[in-house]
Amino acid sequence: MTPNTLTAHAILDLIKQKKLSAKDVFASVSAQIQKTEKDVHAYATIFDAPQIQENAAVPIPIAIKDNICIKGELTTCSSQILSGFKPPYDATVIQKLKASGAVFTGHANMDEFAFGSSTETSYYGPTRNPWNLACVPGGSSGGSAAAVAANEAIWALGSDTGGSIRQPAALCGVVGLKPTYGRVSRYGLIAFASSLDQIGPITKDITDAALLLNIIAGHDEHDSTSVDLPVPDYTKALRNDVKGLKIGIPKEYFIEGIDPQVKKSVFDAIAILKKCGATFEEISLPHTEYAVSTYYIVATAEASSNLARFDGIQYGLRRKPDHIRKTPLIDLYEETRDIGFGTEAKRRIMLGTYALSSGYYDAYYLKGLKVRTLIKKDFDEAFKKVDAIITPTSPTTAFKIGEKTNDPLSMYLSDIYTISANLSGIPAISIPCGLSKDNLPIGLQIMAKPFDEEMLFRIGFTFEQNK
């Protein structure tokens, strides 16, 4: 039996019927890891013999992105600078998962500090796309998406700052949800860009995403930016019914650079939803062309500050200089950070530092915050007219490993459809909507109003049932 190929809700049903044990499930996931991990390399760290509670509510094997703290387990953001770092505390989402009996398989590989869209910048080496090992899985939560796609985990947690859950989910043919900013606690998520980061589920289908969000969502007194709103039972939103829903298609998302196969696949999906009773209209999000610039200012500025603490003083990597260039202390900082960070991390730290530095703050950072206001307003306006917005998740299917590593800007532009949801804080989900001629998955993105994850589940579920 291969329970590792099943969804969590199927597994839970079988466990309830006593046809399956939690141990069996973990054993099959473990066996799969043995079999395919050497090719896929979805994990940064695989945990030893995790605890399995047979009577737990949700004893589902889950991979955790390497930037979410688990007490006593190596947590490195796939960076050399956090070598050996074992947090002395659990992230809030980890506490919640522990309470429901989830089984942690390991820390999933990622772009170093979530800086990337391909999982190639990991200190541990790239993750490969289970659909085609020559391709990237997307990123930065590429390890999480690949683990689920390769059946090396039933569920995974990712984090999404500019599309880092949705884009790899799209490229790996799984479901990935970025909840509304403030819906899931960030406590214990090693920050990339604090005002944009959200933890979210990566699963095989919509139902599993709802189940996992049920566990991790909710107010946390340790996170000032988490919202004290009741958490609905998201599985109740899983209705095969979109009748009367108005869905917007932003015209700015279907212009140059989009792979025609992606476009076709998304419009096929739209046709299915139309058949199910949804109505579609073209909308405009006029500031879309500024999203990438805005994002790369805001995100890197926050990152430059968030990553300053990795300086070789308290924990992680420390490099003692051989000879003194400036002072022993400054040399230690500068050489530790030179060796500890990869090229993309340095690039972003530098860009963010520059955007905040004296004389440039107004032109870059402040400007970015102002354009962010305009982008958010675009969505506020749009949601006065429509219940949801549908777009592609990524302009292309998975690209080849190495194809964009030397071209940071083109890598940044691959986030073009996902970034705006982070800038405006709204929830967005990517669901598989087809395959390219090369047999690579294509993802459909649905966006909704803040705290209306239920709308995403409803539309996603309807599409899943009727495709």
Binding site: N67, I68, C69, T75, C77, L82, F85, P87, P88, Y89, A91, R186, Y187, G188, L189, I190, A191, A193, S194, S195, E221, H222, D223, S224, T225, A301, E302, S304, S305, A308, R309, F310, D311, I313, Q314, Y315, T327, L329, Y333, T353, L356, S357, S358, Y361, Y365
Partner: protein, 483 residues
């Protein structure tokens, strides 16, 4: 004008960092306490561990507003926190959560009384909240530095004055008044030795008559008000001699060296300060309602100058006495309690500002920790005033009370300290005195009445201090002068 004869004016502004006495730190639930074993008051938040997030302590904002109001500031209705980015081993996140452009309070002032009795108005530019850093200890033997993160996250209020002071004495008086005001608010123990109150100074000189400010230096590492005065005096001299010898003042940070009594340039730290302030994304903004401000304002305690004015007026004390009494709110409170028990405020004041304060200064404890109650002190004063014991014996009894806490009446009784006022017993002594001091008696008879004091002294000696000197005087006069 000749540089040698040029007269200079000094301009001083002070930055005071005050640790707030909340139960917990500013952004986490670790105890805010001093003197614990190193690294025993930390958690993911104050250690700045990756993934940790700050949550603002409500009490800190209340204290901040309280201080702002006491310093006559405008309290902002909207405040936010910003990150100040710089690297130092005592700063675990490599940024300090502080307030950049929206501090809790701004545009205030305090009135600082000066030696000549006049008050000087020193304006407060702003006061903002921030987190303290950890503590660094330098281990020369092991050629390393050691970090204790217990202090990290201690709530701080930074109070920045305008450059309104023109002498070290001005600065000293400002600090005295500021500290006193803060002590009244009960928001900090204001102990410079423990580092709960720290002061940096910005100082510049300019030719008298010039309105533009000269280039300033920033003086750090002054560990007492006395040190502030000394460091500023030294720095004025240094700056003047630089300018007089044709040099220019370099804008820099200088450290006060207590032992050498000099300031030294801190060159190694002279890097461009580009703190890259930006709004702290991990904290949300805070609003302060008019109602909240009003509530805190109403609950403000009586402040030192108000208290002094009231005490002076109500108990008819002079400037000096009332000033001394309000230097410690607990002492002032003790005084006022005594006055409810015994009517002579001036007498009470003398006892308190004299022997009682002496004891406080010697023991360095608050008055509430003495074994002396207002009841006991006023009982003692009453006994002295009624002539039951002499002033001198009274002082001894006070010492006894301070040691044992025994009731004044009990001490007098058990040790038989009551003065003899009985004419019969005293007459015997007076006759002896007259017999033994014929010469003095002669002088008295000749009109030198002052000489009587000598005889009274001798008489007190014979009675081992237990006689009532008034009574002896009276009897001596009656016997010698027949009055």
């Amino acid at each position: 004008m000749n540089q040698q004869t040029q007269q200079f004016e000094t301009v001083i502004g002070l930055e005071v960092h005050l640790q707030l006495d909340t139960k917990t730190k500013i952004f986490c639930g670790c105890a805010n306490a001093f003197g614990h074993e190193p690294n025993t008051l930390t958690c993911p938040v104050c250690l700045g561990l990756p993934g940790s997030l700050p949550v603002f302590n409500k009490q800190v904002l209340e204290y901040g507003i309280k201080i702002g109001l006491a310093l006559n500031c405008t309290v902002s209705s909207f405040i936010k926190f910003d990150r100040k980015n710089y690297y130092y081993p005592d700063l675990p996140k490599a940024y300090q959560i502080s307030q950049y452009d929206m501090p809790v309070a701004r545009n205030g002032f305090i009135m600082a009384p000066s030696q000549n009795g006049e008050s000087k108005k020193i304006r407060i530019h702003r006061a903002h909240l921030e987190e303290d850093a950890g503590k660094l200890i330098h281990d020369d033997a092991a050629n390393c530095s050691l970090v204790d993160y217990n202090r990290t996250g201690t709530p701080l209020m930074e109070i920045v004055s305008e450059p309104d002071m023109h002498s070290p004495q001005d600065a000293y008086e400002y600090l005295q008044m500021l500290k006193l005001t803060l002590q009244y608010l009960n928001v900090s123990d204001c102990d410079m030795e423990k580092g709960s109150l720290r002061c940096d100074a910005n100082i510049s000189i300019r030719p008298v008559g010039q309105t533009n400010l000269g280039t300033k230096t920033e003086i750090k590492n002054m560990n007492s008000f006395k040190a502030v005065k000394e460091a500023l005096s030294y720095e004025i001299g240094r700056q003047e001699s630089v300018v007089r010898s044709g040099g220019v003042i370099v804008q820099e940070t200088r450290l006060w060296d207590e032992n050498k009594q000099m300031t030294f340039s801190m060159r190694s730290k002279e890097e461009a300060h580009d703190y890259r302030y930006f709004p702290e994304p991990d904290l949300v903004p805070f609003t302060v309602s008019e109602q909240k401000i009003e509530e805190i304002k109403t609950a403000l305690p009586e402040l030192p100058l108000q208290k002094q004015a009231r005490i002076k007026e109500r108990y008819r004390l002079n400037d000096y006495d009332s000033f001394i009494l309000v230097q410690d709110p607990l002492v002032a409170g003790f005084f006022e309690e005594c006055v409810t028990l015994y009517p002579d405020a001036k007498k009470i004041c003398n006892w308190i500002t004299g022997p009682v304060l002496q004891e406080l200064n010697a023991k360095k404890v608050p008055i509430t920790e003495l074994k002396l109650s207002p009841k006991n002190l006023t009982t003692l004063i009453q006994k002295v005033e009624e002539g039951v014991v002499s002033n001198l014996v009274g002082k001894d009894i006070l010492k006894n009370i301070l040691e044992t806490g025994q009731d004044a009446g009990d001490i007098i009784q058990s040790q038989g300290l009551a003065q003899v006022s009985d004419d019969g017993a005293l007459l015997k002594i007076v006759d002896e005195l007259i017999k033994e001091n014929e010469k003095v008696v002669g002088q008295i008879k000749a009109g030198e009445e002052k000489a009587i004091g000598f005889l009274v002294g001798q008489g007190m000696k014979k009675m081992q201090g237990k006689a009532n000197p008034k009574k002896i005087t009276e009897l001596l006069k009656r016997r010698i002068l027949d009055v």
